[in-house]
Assembly symmetry: C2
DNA sequence: CGATATTTGCAAGGTAGCGAACGATTGTCA
DNA sequence: TGACAATCGTTCGCTACCTTGCAAATATCG
């Protein structure tokens, strides 16, 4: 969050937050005319590119908690963009499929890759690799601490 | 969010998100016994270190939207940790002050610096600097795009 | 086979973020 | 001075994240 100017150091976490929220805000602003949130877009993106998916697998792929995904799916079903059928062998699982309206909307949506390009385009590849490595290592350490608590 | 394995590139934004949420989850877990959220902690931290603050200034310092801070302050007032008085020259402004209960709780809270240390301790300073530079540049670019939209 | 454990999804309740719209106050300027 | 603009905080509605607790279905193992 803020700079934590008492120590001067903790800027990394603060910038991770700022960067994440800035990208997400741009995504939300771009999708607002289509009445879509960023995570809803990720769900449509996955279904459009990988076909019908079991809700459990989608949660794993997008790294969303079951409860979180459940709400998002409910919203998308209410908008008739996604169909949720309890088909298949396992009666606990729900299969998610794009509806015709969902496919139509997906084709109308603008390409969002400009966001990533605008953010990181032109930056030295080695610096990007360093950034990823640092963030990845920090994340792993934090998650280890969380697990062992 | 996810890896966006179609292009393989957008990992930076995904790791920024993961790292931010991992740190925040650890913060939330540590504060849970005290019934405090991470942003509530930042408000107490600021008031404990900088003294009574006008709500507007606190929002700027912590980079929180007015609507967001309003809700958090309401929560802290309900818990009788913070007092919100409409004092001063400008009758629009609200002054935020730690109550005695707030000061007492603040002294009981554990030191959270271990989180930053665990995440980034031992990592090469130059790499950390590169990470901050990359994230900062990306954030600025994104915010520029947001403004001009 | 049957008791137990695991998995899957849902609902409720809480935190944190946003935009938009609204009073109330204050500042500005013709 | 008086109309208009800007500021400050709140409220409303929304997205998205979490935990906890539940029920149903399935898997596992004695």
């Amino acid at each position: 969050m803020p700079e934590r100017s008492d120590a001067g150091r903790p800027a990394v976490g603060g910038w991770a937050k700022r960067c994440y929220f800035a990208g997400r805000a741009l995504m939300d602003a771009t999708l607002r005319p289509y009445d879509l949130g960023s995570t809803q877009w990720y769900v449509l993106w996955h279904l459009a590119n990988f076909g019908p998916t079991v809700q459990r697998d989608l949660g794993r792929a997008l790294e969303l908690e079951r409860a979180t995904l459940s709400g998002i799916v409910t919203t998308l079903v209410r908008k008739t963009l996604v169909e949720q059928t309890s088909s298949g062998e396992d009666q606990r699982q729900r299969l998610l499929t794009l509806t015709v309206a969902g496919e139509t909307l997906w084709r109308e949506l603008p390409d969002l890759s400009f966001i990533h390009d605008a953010a990181f385009g032109g930056i030295d590849e080695a610096d990007l690799a360093t950034t990823v490595r640092v963030l990845q290592l920090a994340t792993e350490r934090l998650q280890n601490l969380l697990r062992k608590e």
